[in-house]
Symmetry: C2
Subunit: 239 residues, 2 copies
Amino acid sequence: MKNYELVLHRVEADLAAGRLRIGGRLPGERTLAEQLGISRPSVREAVRVLEAMGVVRTATGSGPEAGAVIVAEPVSPLTAVLRLHLATNHLPMGDVVQTRLLLESWSAREAAGRELEADELKAAEGLLDRMDDTGLSPEEFHLLDAEFHVALSGLAGNVLIAAVMTSLRSAIHGYVLAAVPNLPDWEAVAVGLRAEHREILAAVRGGEPERAASLVTAHIRGFYQAAQLAPFGGEGGTA
Amino acid sequence: MKNYELVLHRVEADLAAGRLRIGGRLPGERTLAEQLGISRPSVREAVRVLEAMGVVRTATGSGPEAGAVIVAEPVSPLTAVLRLHLATNHLPMGDVVQTRLLLESWSAREAAGRELEADELKAAEGLLDRMDDTGLSPEEFHLLDAEFHVALSGLAGNVLIAAVMTSLRSAIHGYVLAAVPNLPDWEAVAVGLRAEHREILAAVRGGEPERAASLVTAHIRGFYQAAQLAPFGGEGGTA
DNA sequence: CTACCGGTGTGGTCGGACCACAGGGTAGGG
DNA sequence: CCCTACCCTGTGGTCCGACCACACCGGTAG
């Protein structure tokens, strides 16, 4: 048993038992070291891991914002894990895209079947309005695009799936952007994407689950085919 | 910019550029510290993070197995992130189960639509045979059960989804086990689960995607309802 | 009453030291 | 000549003590 794991187990146990809550603070590194009978460097290694896992946020200084504060940020660790494993080339980009397709089509179906608050849709709509600006560069456009898709999957109400979607989009971002030059006419593509987005949102708002899901599937598939990316054989959503 | 991040970026860049491959080794901690102009403790913090992310495996001693070896182990970090965030109670168990349902039904549909090698199915079948042993405790049974479901999702051929499934199962394990006492007759339930497993595998082998998917959905839903667990309203798979 | 300014506690970093471990080269015995 | 036992070397694992930068907070001077 390595020493830093003592800290990890201690923190996990404290979380599970409710002794630590979001917004709470870990004891100081020196205190923790003394309590567990280990050295400060060992404690620091554990805190770094917790930070990388999105469980704490550290800050120097004093006051309520300083120290190791408990947070709940699952997106950044998921993104980091994805990025690193994509870098090893042992995680095919095709699998990532396929997973995205699955999660998004499900989210759209689910969201269309729920009672949505008006302000939930407002955020997504605002993004679409901003995407109407024809002066946007492909990169700016795609950032808004990604944000829209993430917002859409958030409407399904499953925080895990929303978090995974966010990570997937981050991981895919560079990949998609690199393929923009493959498109024969970017502006024409953008026009098509805008229309499809509106259509998807309308289907979600109108409570048409199957239509929303198939629109999303077609929307994503269409773009990847146009950009000559990731030939993926899987279904993703409902056929 | 914190010092340990220098190491993370360096390693990620080396991975992306192909200077580091699976099976390769990181420079020694002392060497790395000198190269980046930082101290060894800073390097160690970064290595710990990489280890927690499943990118390296560290070992003492000498020889080809010692040092920080590059590996590709996405499952353990995903599991750890899930466990920690479940402990914070900011990740509802219902969402985890719902996600599992989605991934598994998709995997079953996908697997049934593929050409499978005989030995791919062998592993799953072997697990089912072992589960026929009536002397198994609920915990032993459930471990095999989880392994079977993971193997099943592996048949779809998407390593990301398979990895996520493995993590979800680990996260759910304790939760499910704690609910076994809720079951009026464990042995009767086990008999039903065995039959359903065989049926699912048959549908996958027989190339019946929709049947496989709906069997899986019913299989999972049935168990959760019997154990009076996680009332989840979502669809998960195709309705 | 206000503005300044040090005290105090936080994480961030560093250098050095020692330990346990495992492999490989070497010196010794057969 | 071969085999065995030993020691040397390099690895990560751990620890100590120190100093820095930072941010709040309280006392103090105006």
